[in-house]
Amino acid sequence: MAPVGRLLLILGLVTTLYGLGASLYGARAGGRAWVDSGRRAMYALWGMTAIAFVILDVAFVSSDFSYNVVASGSSTTTPTLYRVAAIWSTQQGSLLLWLLLLSGWSSLALFLTRRRVREITPYAQAVLFGLTAFFGGLMVFFANPFATSSTPPTEGAGLDPLLRHTTMMVHPPMLYSGYTLMMVPFAFAIGALITGRLGADWIQVTRRFALAAWLCLGVGILLGARWSYTELGWGGYWAWDPVENAALMPWLCTTAFIHSIMIQEKRGMLKVWNASLVLASGSLAVIGTFLVRSGILSSIHAFVSDPTLNFSFVALIAVMVIGSIALVTWRREQLRTEARLDSLVSREAVFLFQNLVLVALTAVIFWITFFPLISEAITGTQISVGPPAFRPFVVPLALIVVVLSGVGPIIAWRRVTLAKLRRSFALPVLATTVALIVLLVVPGVIDHKLALIMFCAGTFVVSSVLQEFVRGVRARRAMTSEAPLIALGALVRRNRRRYGGYIVHAGVALALVGVAASTSFQQSRTATMAPGQSVQLDGYTIRYVRPTATATPEKISFGAILAVTSGRQQIATLHTSYGLYPSQDPTRPIGRFFDGSNETSVGLKSGPLQDIWTAINPNVSALQGLINQGDARFTKFLSDAMAMPAAQRTRALSELYSLRDLAIRGLAQRFVTHPWAPTFLFIVSPLVTWLWAGALLAAFGGLLALWPLPPPRRRVTPPSPRDKPGEAVAAPEARARELV
């Protein structure tokens, strides 16, 4: 099937080029038929890419190692579910996923806008075809996912053990969806700039795509953080790694965009700002993709560096950035604002200030992320910058954003009187003051001033959001006399964008309170312990109860059961393990099973107030002497077996491999029968659960804001005597259905 897949990619590229030409010709010549034909070419491209994707994924699932990407990214020992996901662990497979998602979202956007913004659509279509041509061209000319080998290996290299995690099944497609969805508003912004149709139309038709991009990127970032927390064995969820930042930057920029477009829709202001933001978000999405793929910055997530791809991506980014700047400059007169700020104490002023802070945050992260490259270009030496470089800027800016996300919902548009201001702020400020007093009483909180400010800011946001919900429910009940919960449901259902947004604000505030608490008040220690020994941490006694060990064809796993107590109370039983995957070193018939990649499975007791986290490092060096002996003996046995006549050799090798498997199982079991002391990392972190819960709440709010409103109910007029009898019966039934 590989030639079919390759042919589909080539046909897809030809279709893309046709679509690009048809869209541009249709736009220039005003031929609607050409534009429609171009749109259908996008549907066809999506269909071809989907079939190609399925062909490749079937090859992964069936372990067809004649495909080079399958041989390098999967194996027969890789569990089936992970084989399905292994396709995007490879460079070529992930490019195919990018094209699939980009053509899919583009098809959806073009279908939904086929009868709207008709002047802009042809150019937007051409931009989307330009982007799909880029990714299609990369696969056709430089990174062929369907490349095959005439002498396929009997076994593949396997999926990186670190990627064998449930979140990794969803995390990359979510991030890629975010990046590719962002291309839709980007393309329509370009179309609007080219045609000079710079009203709010293009924003209205692409707003949901921007929101969906924001949601997908946010969920992708959340899943990545969760994976880091439960899989990487260091106990953290964010390391300011370039690839993490690559997803965060477009997310922040899109956050600014989905706020500022409200001002353009409502007041006709910030046109140049909105156009710039959406173009920056689109460019940052491609920069993010480039960062993951290029390996130009040290990252734990990057694919292997490929100079051809690097050059192509740099060229695309240059075209996007330079083209965007040129278009905005060209249209600067038409982008002039229709209104001015009435007052600095108004919702639009708060939105504008919040936008500036979000853009500053993006700029800071961009600068520090790329600083090693910048410094190398200026000074000629490579410089490392870590989390300490980010904190002095990111923490205060994040605090300002949180406070503003509490102010935004309760301040009025245009102009606010002092009395109104007092009425809106009284309760949130009171709640914040009470929180401050309570927190000052809690020992140790005053020593972490930034965390204290974040707790107070979080209280302010949550209380201002709650106040808005209560006010809305009261107003609705005054009009309809509904029960409180029904009024709440109706209120949210009818104003999904507004109340969904408020829920996002509360969720983000809760998540950042979790971040502040878990980073400021975390307690950790490492300890090397034998079974039966215990350590004290943050009032808990953690006892190493017993070791565990398993050996399967996939991996050897050393683990530990630990009991956590507080005084005489049993708090939790934790199980942590450390998986060792084999390497393919032929010189070490036994040692290679202990030499490959590692993966940690953490022991975790999560609670609403505290997480108790542990990871084990089994110090396999205790087995080194036995492993060396095994290597020497089995190397000799193997060479003896290879010298035998062919008929005896097969039997001898089979027996030898059985003995080897037995020896490996025996070596693993020594961790239980002759236990030595492994090293543990223990962490007690407060409020980590708030981070996950807050982020999920924000995702729910985002989904709510994204969900389409039901179509407006049409008034049903009573049947006139002239109507036919059948219709006269149907009309009252329809009316009854609507009332229900």
């Binding site: 734990i300 990057a302 090397t528 060096s621």
Partner: protein, 135 residues
């Protein structure tokens, strides 16, 4: 006040604030950033009492463990030269021979360079050498 003049003043203030923040950012980046040295640069420059960030790849066959101590050599990617490192503390899961690493070290004399606990970071390529049909 003349609105044009008012706008000019606002713009000047905004640009000044932006310039000050940008200067602070540039200064902090250079102040917080530390030079990465290759094995050959480290041998030339290292002197006792100072710490350095060593960058390179883990030399194949050099990784050994002695209890909680991890011994390995970091190779200069361009020159055929490597330096020994004695490291204790957290070892990232992707750490393996042939992988690119960063570690903060100080000169430990004849025993080699001593890695600062918790400073070892590893770059993880998407592919790895693995599994045969049996174990």
């Amino acid at each position: 006040m003349d609105p044009r003049r008012k706008r000019a003043i606002r713009l000047t203030i905004a640009l000044t604030v932006a310039l000050l923040l940008a200067s602070a950012l540039v200064y902090t980046s250079f102040a917080a950033g530390r030079e990465e040295l290759t094995a050959s640069q480290l041998i030339k420059r290292a002197h006792p009492g100072s710490s350095y960030i060593l960058a390179g790849t883990v030399l194949n066959g050099s990784v050994r463990r002695q209890g909680s101590l991890l011994l390995f050599r970091v190779r200069d990617p361009k020159l055929k030269m490597s330096v020994p490192v004695r490291y204790t503390g957290e070892v990232p899961d992707p750490f393996a021979p042939g992988r690119a690493v960063l570690v903060t070290v100080s000169d430990g004399g004849p025993a080699g360079f001593i890695g600062q606990p918790g400073s070892l970071t590893t770059k993880c390529p998407s592919k790895y050498q693995a599994a045969s049909g049996s174990y």
